[in-house]
Symmetry: C2
Subunit: 111 residues, 2 copies
């Protein structure tokens, strides 16, 4: 089955972050056993996703394009770029900052 | 936790396909509960992954860059490009052909 990108939504100040992110949802909770969501997300220049906790699920931010700082489960900001895979597991928290003048693109996989 | 790209391996004629693919493994079976593997895969120009069955797991090919043809679970070849999410579930088969003179890049998520 091929799922095309559609329904891109703009989210402002996501989890208390700055600016806008654009989120395209491919897979939702009820679609396939074993995976909850697959999204393609773009953070506009200098936008961020605020630090937030995942109580009942785990998430991967896999960076496709751009550079930024991943706020890890220890609260520390760590530099990330294209090809980096940022993982948190149930109960942990995370956030992401686009530090550049260009968009940061990533896949978000919630499982 | 940030997992950096490493251990990129070249696989020739994968599942009977043509040419070489380059696979970077981020997450393996035993790493995190709920997801089996996350890979970043590049198919060189005109390379392909042969049609093969997934007996015990499901897989997503999410196209990041390039164009090709996804051989779906019905055996049909269907055009795909950047932003397309190709899903098969347990018991189904799939393959992928890079139809272009440039690399095709994708995320492979096995769950």
């Amino acid at each position: 089955m091929i799922i095309k990108p559609e329904n891109t939504i703009e989210l402002k100040n996501r989890f208390g972050g700055k600016g806008s992110i654009f989120s395209s949802s491919y897979i939702k909770e009820q679609d396939f056993e074993g995976i909850r969501k697959v999204l393609e997300i773009e953070l506009e220049a200098h936008a961020s996703i605020g630090y937030h906790q995942h109580i009942d699920d785990s998430e991967i931010y896999h960076i496709i394009e751009g550079k930024g700082e991943f706020q890890d489960s220890d609260g520390q900001f760590k530099p990330v770029g294209k090809g980096d895979c940022c993982v948190i597991t149930k109960g942990q928290s995370h956030g992401l900052v686009n530090t550049e003048d260009t968009p940061l693109k990533m896949m978000a996989i919630i499982f």
